[in-house]
């Protein structure tokens, strides 16, 4: 019995380590992911700040393209992506209001990028060259000069759990970067459809 348990643990560990070694194993692991839910902490590091600006939030994803990206503090903001449509709600004077700013179009691009990552498609975006570094790190480097002015590179640290991401760091330059750390990650748990449709669904 003990030997059997050891074999299961060793097999599981090998599978966990193995999933980050090639693009095909990453794609295979991501294909098995139907839903993701996670809390996150976002740190914005700037040369003018001794302490990073910390934001906290939560996201939910359902394959292939439903996403809810929500910040709780210090500024409440909810991005919803469902059926190819992206909407954002911002807290204004104590209540959530739809965002009608021009910045929403840019956020739609970002949301597409996030859903691509959650589907394991790190190496298919023409805007970035993807490199898989031993140890489960993916480095995305902008291919166009215009994008490179805005983003120096993006580093994604894959988690031990197949199909999951531990951390994303977006470098605007070497001194200014945004780091997202994910925790309380849950894969393949059923999610309410209203999460992706409503800013304040019951129980969200």
């Amino acid at each position: 019995m003990r030997r059997c348990l050891q074999m299961v643990l060793v097999t599981a560990a090998l599978f966990s380590i193995g999933w980050t070694t090639s693009w095909s194993s990453i794609h295979a692991a991501a294909d098995a992911v139907r839903t993701v839910q996670s809390d996150f902490t976002q740190e914005k590091h700037l040369p003018i700040l001794q302490r990073p600006l910390v934001s906290k939030g939560r996201f939910a994803y359902e394959a292939p393209g439903n996403l809810r990206w929500e910040y709780h503090a210090p500024a409440r903001s909810i991005l919803l992506m469902q059926g190819g449509e992206t909407r954002r709600f911002l807290e204004s004077q104590g209540r959530l209001v739809p965002d009608r700013s021009a910045g929403l179009a840019a956020m739609s691009v970002v949301m597409d990028q996030i859903t691509a990552w959650l589907q394991g498609r790190f190496d298919t975006n023409q805007s970035f060259a993807a490199e898989l570094v031993p140890g489960g790190t993916i480095v995305l480097t902008p291919t166009a000069a215009g994008m490179a002015k805005m983003i120096h590179r993006i580093e994604l640290q894959l988690a031990a759990q197949p199909g999951a991401i531990d951390m994303v760091t977006i470098y605007e330059d070497e001194a200014a970067f945004t780091r997202l750390k994910f925790h309380n990650l849950r894969l393949n748990h059923p999610l309410e459809e209203a999460l992706f449709r409503e800013a304040a669904p019951h129980g969200a």
Binding site: L46, L53, A75, R100, V110, E172
Partner: protein, 233 residues
């Protein structure tokens, strides 16, 4: 309202305080200053030393269009050095700049690259966070509120008033005495004393380009304090 130019500065400096009060009372758009009773302290809302502040910023434009931003600011009250960054909630830097003697924009993503945006933003930050300098200053009261009136060389003026303990109002007037900016500074309930960063700042731009900014303090660090003093609401 207020004469300007180098030839007039000497005459401005020679005016006694009473004459200033009379002169200012005559200005059309600015309220008259009345004598301040003895022993009443003057408003001092501006931070001293070097600080790093982060704010949640709600910007409201005509038509009730709203934008939500995060702001980072580094300031030095002695050198009047300002460095700032505006970011999306997601952390993407839209604008960054520094100003001491001259303005240097280090990043400006559309629409934050528009003509005059950087100058206007830095002027607003200086109004809210730096005590006016190179000015004539008179003190008095407006509707019983202790007020310091700063008269700038370009003919503009700034009134700084105490509304209640730790609560301040900053009014900025154009050279033709029109009110062009009004800011209300609210302290944290726990620390209503002067010399601490305001927990809330409401700025209304009343000039040709109208907008309102609502700043909520997230974090404050005094970087020149030996004890590393910090402040959070």
């Amino acid at each position: 309202m207020v004469p300007d130019g180098p030839g007039r500065r000497g005459r401005i400096a020679a005016l006694p305080a009473l004459a200033w009060l009379l002169l200012l009372s005559a200005c059309a758009g600015m309220p008259a200053l009345h004598p301040l009773p003895p022993g009443v302290s003057q408003p001092r809302p501006f931070l001293q030393g070097r600080w790093q502040l982060t704010h949640r910023i709600e910007a409201i434009f005509p038509g009730n269009h709203t934008a939500l931003l995060m702001g980072a600011l580094e300031l030095d009250s002695e050198t009047r050095h300002l460095r700032c960054a505006l970011m999306t909630v997601e952390g993407f830097t839209l604008f960054s700049a520094a100003k001491s003697d001259r303005l240097r924009v280090t990043r400006a993503v559309p629409p934050f690259d528009g003509p005059g945006f950087a100058e206007g933003l830095m002027a607003d930050l200086a109004l809210l966070f730096l005590a006016p300098r190179e000015t004539r200053q008179v003190t008095g009261s407006i509707h019983g509120r202790p007020t310091r009136r700063f008269l700038h060389m370009d003919g503009t003026a700034t009134d700084v008033s105490t509304i209640a303990t730790g609560h301040f109002r900053i009014d900025r007037y154009s050279s033709d005495a029109r009110l062009i900016r009004r800011a209300l500074l609210t302290p944290t309930a726990a620390r209503p004393e002067e010399g601490r960063p305001a927990a809330e700042i409401h700025l209304d731009a009343l000039g040709d380009a109208r907008y309102a900014l609502r700043l909520t303090l997230i974090d404050a660090v005094r970087t020149d304090a030996s004890d590393g003093a910090t402040d959070s609401p």
